[in-house]
C-alpha cells in the first residue's frame, strides 16, 4: 500500500509538469541565485575581515605585545579604547563616528572641537559684519552732517557772524593767548589754580607796561646778570616768587616796603 501511495504521488507530480524545458529554466534560476548568494557572502566575510576582524586582531596583537604587568596591559587597552582615531584603531573609529565617548554622552571630543571651531568662526564673522554695519551707519551720518554744513548760508548771516566775531575780539571780553581763552578774572583764577604752582602765582604775568616798569629810574639798561643776581638774592632772603614783582611797583606800597626791609635784613646778616 505504501509503495502504491508513493507511485500515485509521483504520478500526480509528473502530471503537474507541463513542459520539460520550463523545469530546466527554473533549475538554472535557482542555481544562479545560489551562486549570487555565495558571492555576496564572500564579500561580506571579506569586509568583516578587513574592517572589523583585521583591525581587532591587530589591536589585540598590539595590546598583547606590550611588555609588563597585567595592569600595564589593561592601561594600554584603556588608552586604545579612548583614543580618537580614524585609521586602524577600531575603537577610535567608532568614537570618531560618534558612537563612543569618554563620558558616555552623545558627541565625540572631535565632534565637539569641530563644533566649537565652527561656532568661533561664525562669531568672528558676526563681529566683522557688525563692525562693517556700524561703519556704514557712521559714514551715512557724517555724509548727512557734511551736507548740513555745506548748506549755503545767507550772506547777511555771514556778515553778522563776521561782525560778531570782530566785536567779541574788540570788546575785550575774550582774550586769547595761545590755546587759552580768558573772559574774566574767574578764568584767570581757574588757570592759575590748575596750571601754576602756588609759589609762582602771577609772578610772570607781564605786559609791555610791566616790562617798562622794570627798567631803572634813569633808563639805564640793567644787565641780565644783575637781574638774575637780584632774583637770587631775593630767593636767598626767603621771598616767594610771587613777591619778586614788588620791585616793579606792581604791588602796594606796603608790600614794596616789606620786600625792601627783608632785603636790608639779608644784607645786614
Amino acid at each position: 500500500v505504501d509503495k502504491l501511495g508513493k507511485v500515485e504521488s509521483d504520478l500526480a507530480l509528473l502530471n503537474t509538469v507541463r513542459d520539460q524545458d520550463e523545469l530546466e529554466n527554473i533549475k538554472h534560476e535557482v542555481l544562479s541565485q545560489v551562486a549570487d548568494n555565495k558571492k555576496q557572502t564572500g564579500n561580506t566575510f571579506e569586509t568583516l575581515k578587513t574592517r572589523s576582524v583585521g583591525p581587532m586582531a591587530k589591536f589585540y596583537g598590539e595590546a598583547m605585545s606590550v611588555k609588563g604587568t597585567i595592569f600595564e596591559r589593561l592601561g594600554a587597552v584603556e588608552v586604545a579604547v579612548t583614543e580618537t582615531s580614524d585609521d586602524g584603531n577600531l575603537f577610535g573609529a567608532i568614537s570618531y563616528m560618534g558612537g563612543l565617548t569618554s563620558n558616555g554622552e552623545f558627541g565625540s571630543p572631535r565632534q565637539t572641537q569641530a563644533l566649537e571651531k565652527r561656532m568661533a568662526e561664525i562669531e568672528h564673522k558676526k563681529l566683522e559684519l557688525t563692525t562693517k554695519l556700524e561703519t556704514l551707519k557712521e559714514h551715512r551720518a557724517s555724509a548727512v552732517a557734511n551736507k548740513i554744513d555745506l548748506t549755503p548760508q545767507d550772506a547777511k548771516v555771514d556778515g553778522l557772524l563776521a561782525r560778531l566775531s570782530l566785536l567779541e575780539v574788540q570788546d575785550g571780553d575774550a582774550i586769547r593767548v595761545g590755546t587759552y581763552t580768558f573772559t574774566n578774572v574767574v578764568d584767570c583764577e581757574a588757570f592759575l589754580s590748575a596750571k601754576v604752582s602756588s609759589n609762582v602765582l602771577s609772578a610772570y604775568c607781564y605786559d609791555m607796561v610791566s616790562l617798562v616798569y622794570r627798567v631803572s629810574n634813569n633808563g639805564d639798561a640793567v644787565s641780565t646778570e644783575q637781574i638774575l643776581q637780584r632774583d637770587y638774592m631775593a630767593h636767598k632772603g626767603g621771598l616767594p616768587t610771587w613777591d619778586l614783582r614788588t620791585s616793579t611797583r606792581q604791588c602796594s606800597r606796603h608790600c614794596r616796603l616789606r620786600w625792601q626791609a627783608r632785603l636790608c635784613i639779608l644784607f645786614l646778616e
Binding site: 602765582l201 610772570y204 641780565t224 608790600c255
Partner: protein, 195 residues
Amino acid sequence: MQQALPAPLAGSAVHPIPGVKVFKEWDGEDGVTGKRADVTSSIANTVQALLSILIRELRGHPDALAVFQMMILQGQIHWQAYASFLSNTRNVSFKQCEDEKEAWLYPCEVGKGVFEEALKVRRVGGERSSTEKHTLQDAARMMWGALRCYQLMETYVLCGFQGHPQLAGYSIGHLFRNRVTPKHIEVVKTKVSSI
C-alpha cells in the same frame, strides 16, 4: 598798576612824557644813544632773565610756561612797536610842520594816551584783598589786568596807535591846539553858517 607813566618816562616837567622832553633825549638817531635804545636794551635783558627764571620756576607746568612766555615776548614786541611809532611819527610831523618842538609833542601826546588807556585796564590788577598775603584772587586780578593790557596793545599796534578810536581824542586834541589857527576856525564857522 597805580600810575600811568613808568619811571624812565615819568618826571616833574610839564610835558606829556616828562622823561624825554626833547626828541634828542629819546632817540639819538644812531641806534645807540637815547632813552629809546636804553629802555629797549634793558627790556631785552629783562626778558632774557625772566625767561630763564620762568623755565626754572615753571618746570613741570608747560601750559603756564607757554602762556607767560607769550605774554612776556609779546610785551617786548609791543614796546618795540611803541618806540618805533614815537620816532617815526615825530619824523613825519617834523616834515609837515618843520617845528622841532611841536613835531615831538604830537607823538608824545598819543604816547601818553597809550599809557593812560593802559592804566584804565590794568587798574584792576592793583586791587588787593589783604596787605599781608598775596592770595590767589589777587594773582588772578593781576593776571586779568596784564591780559587786558596785552589785548589793548595788540589792537593799538594793529591800528598803528594813532588810528585807534581810543587814541583819536589825544591826537585830535593836540592838532586842534597846535595846528589850527583862529583864522582856520573862522573859515569853518563861515562854512557852517552858510550851510
